[in-house]
Amino acid sequence: MIKKLYIDNYRCFSNFELTLDPLTLLLGPNGAGKTSVLEVIDALRQFISEGLSVEALTPAQSMTRWNTRLEQRFSMSVELGFEEFVYELVVKHTPDRSKRKVLTERLTCSGTQLFHFDEQAIGHLCDDNGTERAQAPFDWSRSTLGVLRSGPDNTKLTQFRDWLDRIQLVRPNPRSMESRSEKSAALFDPSLRDFAGWLRGRFEEDPSGPYGLVEELKQVLDGFVGLKNLSLGGDLRRLEVQLRSSEDTESFPGKPYSVAFDELSDGQKLLISLYAILLLSLSTEKVLLIDEPDNYLGLAEVQPWFNRLQDVLLTSGGQTVVVSHHPEILNQAAAQSGRWLSRPGNAHVRVRPFREIADKFEGAAPNAEIIARGWTE
């Protein structure tokens, strides 16, 4: 679980520190940096796990506009089991800001250094006890941590990298979701465009998983019967949703019928995908970063899904960071889990627990009403 995130001199973040819980709601007006927080976490994952270059991670325009410093800093404290990992990255730009390099990169575990890339571009690899085992020059344009070989004496470093692969960003766009899949996918695209391929993978991986999902969806989607992957020849499959009319008349005989997933309404597609992600993806040490999951959902669907999310978090040991403006979510959980992000004077992002704001009103109005009135400062 990510316990703390630190960002300095990046976009609108200057010396910004955010503490996170198993469930954290990022709240605030438009342009307050909520989505950027999710993007930073996901970008750090890509930097280490997918070989994203430092150019792509921190282009010149990512530097805080009103800041003249040339160094950007990121730090993430992560609790895995009983250990606390701290990952630190410093990127340095040239004075004309045309080039940049990794200045330092470091990983510690409960205070013991596991890896350090220093200012001379030398990588120092340590064993699990912190004893340096090797050093060599590395490329300063990418993460060195990401390219180190796993071995029996650096299991903690491997544990951290494996955990990074469990971070997933979700920015659902139901209009982009497709029914067809050419292969099963281990991860989904943030927009959930390839949701069908991801779900296909879950069907293959764990036949019991989709059953639980189907039973859940029967309760939340009127007339829902089941899901199936229809073969279209070769590897091509089409995700179909079986529905049934609740009326059993001559004109509506009540027999199940199938529709392609992308024939459903935006709200129905999103509802199915959100429950699927919750039930089939959120597990121990999983981190879901969900950006405005409620945009297309009917009012009656938001709280049941959010309640389910809270239930799953309690039992799964996973973590979720949710960006939301939805009154149903704000009223239910902002006081307990909310972090209020704002940019007074259009300057850098500030954050404080939403509880501080809610306490002032002592329940005189729902959280959403306090926010809607702008009484948050």
Binding site: F361, A364, A365, I370, G374
Partner: protein
């Protein structure tokens, strides 16, 4: 004279809330983004009782919120005069254990007498009194033009006519005094 940074409007129906919205936005110059309409009673029983029930929580909320937020409440007289309606509000606050509205507190109670249709009738250049029920025989929905007319009448643009109903003249006076609203 500067106006309030924010205005909250509570009224019996869309005629009250819509007219006051037009008045504060179009004539008193409060930015649209800083005006918030409270939900109206709709089908939730007697509209006047609904407003009376909401007033304590709205005042309590306003007292905890920023000082620059003003609350405007509109309730028809409907056979009761302005002082009596305002007295009902005071009694309701007392029953809730709340202190009464301070003279310097930006909370305004407006009481169209006999009802807001009286103001509309006047705004349509007709002679009115505060005893006749002009709601009778009139369609219940208000047009955008109706809201504009009453909004302008509340702000009294052009300046008040001597024949204006006293409750309308008082409304303008209270708004100006208590909200420091100025055109």
């Amino acid at each position: 004279m500067s106006g309030p940074a924010q205005v909250i409007i509570l009224g019996e129906d869309t005629a009250h809330v819509g007219s006051l919205y037009r008045a504060v936005v179009d004539h008193f110059g409060v930015p649209r983004r800083r005006v918030r309409k409270c939900p109206i009673a709709g089908g939730r029983g007697d509209a006047k009782q609904y407003v009376l029930r909401q007033i304590p929580s709205e005042i309590q909320l306003r007292r905890r919120g920023p000082n620059s937020a003003a609350l405007i409440v509109a309730m028809d007289g409907d056979g009761v005069n302005e002082d009596q309606r305002i007295g009902e509000v005071a009694a309701r606050l007392g029953a809730e254990g709340m202190r009464e509205i301070d003279p310097l507190e930006p909370v305004v109670i407006l009481v169209p007498c006999r009802n807001i249709e009286t103001w509309l009738h006047f705004a349509q250049c007709a002679a009115v009194d505060e005893e006749t029920d002009y709601k009778r025989g009139r369609r219940s929905t208000w047009s955008s033009n109706d809201l504009d007319l009453v909004g302008r009448a509340i702000a009294q643009t052009p300046p008040p006519k001597p024949e204006a109903p006293p409750s309308l003249a008082n409304a303008r006076k209270r708004l100006c005094q208590k909200l420091s609203l100025s055109r």
